[in-house]
Symmetry: D3
Subunit: 250 residues, 6 copies
């Protein structure tokens, strides 16, 4: 039995609230247990300098935590004058993950900014940011199509992310903060709705692990991804149509 | 009639949701119309260097906007590497305002950090931050007293803030974004529950104003402050007890 | 009687020395008591990006203190790597104030930079910077007209600024440093020669004040503004011509 | 056949030159094909603040590239004023990897800094930095034992790192720059001499991969790790003694 | 004949105004032609970390230019976020120069900060800063002795600095801005009252020079140094007593 | 006898290894005793903004030390967020020195970046950087001519740099670190193959020196320069052809 009465392969409660920001082209507040991340998608009708004239778009994600998202207050990166290595690593991961399911040529010469701001942290903020960021992206694409700026959806399939860990000798799905802090091995899995892996990062924290353990953790992760994608499909409703489907006359 | 059908002296809908963050010693999500600011209070059992050994506490506020709080996405200050002048000006104002109703000696040698993060902006974010930040502060003081760290409340009285503006020839209470952008004169008023002024900033934007206009704006502001403080009292419930009252055996 | 033998409503000695910099398009050294601010105006024949093609000009002020302008040496902002919040707040105030009396369309597509560097500080540096900055601006406009780059003066009227404070129960005009440090309430007033208010900032320093006190302080401030504008007119001599007057054949 | 005539499972030529810096407690120049990384180990007799008094040591790695390590000159991070996200991500990886094979309690209250500076880059610089950094670390430990500061080696076992990639449909070991640039999937493997995994990062670059492909890449990586560890053992000579062995009377 | 009618070996008019800052322990406004540098000396009763407990003092100089000291406005280093290489080079030079004539042990465990702020630049600002900075230092030492904090003067002898240049085929003393901009060779000389060299920097600007030319420039420089030191002695009056003399009962 | 058995006027062993970087247009590893500086030349087919359209090229040098180039580890400037004053001073010196022997018009509208990275420091790193940087530059020019981008060499003559110092009463050529640390006077000399001076910087470190001593140090320096240029000529082989010679049909 885990701290919060879950079994080893149980996800925490997943909840998506869409349309939480009146300005953004897409927005969702994702909750996975007590972790809450506000994700917005902003469509900008230009591309970064290195892509100009290349007839393709770009997805760029940023990630941050509010100072009191954490149990102890964390100083603001804007006061400190720079982003931490952890922040940069995470936002590079989110960006790569979302780009892997988008046909950037079909997106056209525009950038979609995905802002993931952690309102409350309880483990798994980077994976929640990927999952929530994807929903914000789909909602923004829905808007682009409704407004006629796009005719085809550039989204190739669904994507979600989850953490798995080895705590003592137990392999556990979807770690909360206390479990994460105690884990010897930490695995983050990003996977698509067709079951392909986009990113797998398995890390021993002053520890090592075997191939067998890695495969068992991968299996747990796959179970979590499925549940996340089901919840996502439900939350998106009609917008799910744009996940991997060409747009026809509705 | 105003854009959103309000009369000249009408506030927008005021709403406070308390306890929105499981980590913070005090937290509130304030909504004034479509402006939404998440305010948390963090109690730190130490004071800044310049106050060490002076037997008093300190209140320090920080303010920021999420990138897509605004109609156009605003780049993150952490990416830019520094806070803007506007941000610094606002957080200095919030800090001063809250300190004016706190007996810092009674607070003891501790710092209360007030973090005000704008989730959605529609005019009046700095005044909403002061009003919401005050509620987060009261909730934190409630906790300090419940846990026996304080016996007397250090809070001297209630405080709230509101904006008033001159748009064309009209004087309007509680400007939304479009009104704020069109205003010739902008007045921010911070006032206590006993009707004393803490801060009054009246600014002509490439414009000027008369003493008469200032007094009329002040009167409008006083009306708004009263409504804000009533809503605050209701939202705080039993915690309002600690606003300017000594703690007795309840 | 005040520290320096002044009565409650007395200004300190006001002195302007014009033409103190051989490079600048306009320059003045303003002394108000022992406060001395070197103000230069630089005319740049272009506007900031956000104004390009909008057929108007811009006024941008910067403010700084020499390290030993103060009783204790203050470290340089260039060494620290950024401007403080106080500096930014002040230079935003100076910029706004000067823009309020300039017809930016008449100025044409050029920027006037007003640099206010405090050589010696003894209270009221921000208000001295506004007053002195205005004179530098007028001198630069005189030069633009003499050289034929402008035919009409873009200056709508005169402007000056002064501080007032509540020290104990006394309301005092034009605070020196010791008075400022002891003040419970601090009011900065920016006003035009026609008696219109441009900016009024009244701040309780861990204190509050009543509407009556604010009005009394405002009255004191108006007296100070008048004296400053008289001294300014005298110092500018023929250049005063360009304060709010169309240029005719002289 | 690959660009440089290697077969799919071939490593490039591995070379270690030890003792390349007369000041450092340990130093090695690692070459893997044309990739050359200068690794130094510095022993500092103190620990970071968060570890003070905890009776354990710390390993901290930093990574950088000389401006012309790359085919196109890359601007210096010191001129730019901050490290890139890529740099921070890599140095966090190196630090974690080396800590996983060190008994930090046995190391005592000291920090070993591992500096990895890329003199010439041709793919695989982060994995070469881990492998080379480990050798520098062992040499520094040798010195600590020779000088009597340590009696037991804190090193638990050997460690090395290698890259594997999927280019088109081929899975290739130890990618050179051109292969890396063309790869759809990139896998970095960090593994110990006992065959345990320390870190596995598999990333689809705007692409995905199956579990089968991941396992095949892992197998290729294991082959590379073995060859690297053999070469490391040979290069370290007698110092290899300190890799996971208690120190006896030699 | 030079631009300003001087002969080849003529200095521009030298003027020192002492006591120009009411806060500083020593202050002087040095004018050399149209170059004007405000120099203040601040005595701080502590030393930098690297000197703690070493029973000696320290001299630290900082240098900056007001934005409109120059013909074209120069952006502030505080806005830019860092000091330029030129600024750092100059303040290192001033610091070294002043330390060379001070017995740091006799100064005691205190730091004298020398702030040199260029109000108006017309060539030779760094040399004027050294000369003026020395006078501010002497005045501060005078104060230390008058107040009984020092009994012996720590100043070993007088010091001054001047520029010399080769313009076309002419060797010229004390270059003004136009001459400096046109010079092929630029020599800065720092020398003591006993005729010893403290620093000589001779630089070809995309040009070279012979040993003969260097010696001729050195001779010109010596002449300038003598005139500067005579003017300094006159300006310091009784305070000159502390330049290299033990303090007796006056 | 000196620490390393050299006579007063002896250089340390000089060694150049060319072609040490496969990407750079020119590269050399210079060793002077235990000082080792890796110098690369990068040709960029554009000029800085201030030179656009002026039909000339530019030489820009950058200098840095690896963290453990020094006896004690030095923190990275990229981590600190800015370059030190020492670094900026040195790279300005290297840039000026190399530009003095290049005909920038003949170089054409391109920039040559000279990167000087100190792998190991033992005194004289800035002078080694100039000498080594020159060789990298010549090799890059050779490449420009071989590839037909240039027909004439823009290099006017050879250049090298060396340090001289006064340690106690001894004048010593080419100081190693211990000598440098003990020196009262430090002289850096940059000179061309025709015996013209490009830069002479003589500095008393809390000390002074006479004209006689300066001339004696200059003479020692000239001897060192000659030896450096002979070694450079030998190392460059056929590429020496481009040092000050027009290109004819070889």
């Amino acid at each position: 039995m885990r701290l919060d009465q879950r079994a080893q392969a149980d996800m925490r409660t997943i909840h998506f609230e869409t349309g939480v920001n009146k300005h953004a082209e897409g927005s969702v507040l994702i909750s996975v247990g007590d972790t809450r991340v506000l994700c917005t998608a902003t469509v900008e009708e230009k591309v970064p300098p290195f892509l100009r004239g290349k007839r393709q778009g770009w997805i760029n994600a940023e990630y941050a935590m509010l100072p009191r998202a954490t149990a102890q207050r964390t100083g603001r990166e804007s006061v400190r004058g720079k982003q931490t290595g952890r922040t940069m690593e995470i936002q590079r991961l989110i960006s790569r993950a979302l780009r892997s399911v988008v046909n950037l040529e079909k997106l056209g010469e525009r950038t979609v900014w995905i802002d993931c701001d952690v309102l409350q942290a309880d483990g798994g903020t980077r994976t929640a940011a990927i999952t929530g960021g994807f929903l914000a992206l789909v909602l923004a694409v829905d808007g682009l199509i409704q407004s006629g700026k796009l005719t085809d959806t550039p989204i190739k399939e669904g994507i979600a992310a989850v953490s798995v860990g080895k705590v003592g000798t137990d392999l556990l799905l979807d770690l909360c903060y206390e479990e994460d802090a105690a884990a010897d091995v930490d695995l983050n899995l990003v996977m698509t709705s067709s079951g392909k892996i986009v990113e797998l990062q398995a890390t021993g924290e002053e520890a090592t692990f075997s191939r067998r353990e890695m495969l068992d953790m991968l299996e747990l992760g796959e179970k979590g991804i499925e549940e996340l994608l089901q919840a996502a499909e439900q939350a998106l409703g009609a917008s799910w149509w744009y996940v991997g489907e060409e747009v026809e006359h509705r």
